[in-house]
Subunit: 144 residues, 2 copies
DNA sequence: GCAGTCGTAACAGTCATGGTTGCAACAACC
DNA sequence: GGTTGTTGCAACCATGACTGTTACGACTGC
């Protein structure tokens, strides 16, 4: 389906801020993060704005402004990020309602709905098992 | 992410063909299926063409032509349909490669890759647990 | 040969996403 | 109080995936 990269970029930004703060800096700017992710600062600000609404990061304005973590990396899971950043369901129903006069058209949506909900639940469980601290450790463990 | 409905429509089509054949008919036309799914016959033909390439259905041409199942509904899982119909991964990486000179930019892709592969594997396992026969039974069990 | 259906190309419309520009709001610092 | 650097946000365009639609050739039973 060639999905979007929002979750990837959001995790990238959080790991970057976390590492930067551990190196003694107070805040990170969207421009620095954008340079690391090789994208536009506005894209980063948009994403971090959603993470702020979810209570994962904070921002300061004015000179010397930037972004900082609102919670420790250990306490943020990929599920937190996913819910902050991905609005819709993994699988979609018909665009237009199927023929309700047909047996299949009438019953297919509740049937698939139940299946899809189960799958989304297991995906959420998987995402909830990974913290951003795990991600950062994996990042640092990558071979040069 | 507001995904696509290809898997839903494909399952709808297969269940429809399966039920139709159990009612004594040999083949189903794309027009009949499109009427049930409330879409265009060409959309159905395109999808069923991908299912045919995967060996799930067969088609006949000429007068009295149409589509029939190549395997029993019991032996077709949603994973078979998913693989026939959804090409890409669930989650995408960065559009443009991140800065390899940055520690995070260098390590983030292998880190996320590993996580995503694990999640896709569990999704596949879930999909493999549901047969189209299960789906049809769920469809028929829907309250009127 | 006729009729009905598939097979497929071509194109427009919609939507999500990403990239870009521009500018107001804000706050530290001088 | 002015300057400066950064966020916040709106507006717009480009791209790509998917859907819907039309058109027409290919095929086959009658």
């Amino acid at each position: 389906m060639s999905a979007n990269s929002r979750l990837t970029i959001a995790a990238h930004a959080l790991a970057w801020i976390g590492l930067y703060q551990r190196q003694g800096h107070e805040v990170a700017t969207s421009e620095q993060i954008a340079a690391s992710a090789n994208t536009n600062p506005v894209v980063i600000r948009r994403l971090l704005g959603e993470l702020r609404r979810a209570g994962l990061v904070e921002s300061r304005r004015g000179v010397g402004a930037g972004w900082s973590l609102a919670r420790e990396l250990e306490s943020i899971t990929l599920l937190d990020v996913y819910e902050a950043v991905e609005p819709g369901p993994l699988f979609a129903m018909h665009r237009t309602a199927p023929d309700q006069g047909c047996v299949v058209g009438h019953g297919i949506q509740p049937a698939m709905q139940g299946i899809y909900e189960g799958i989304e639940e297991t995906v959420r469980n998987e995402l909830a098992r990974v913290t951003l601290e795990n991600v950062l450790q994996d990042v640092l463990a990558a071979p040069r």
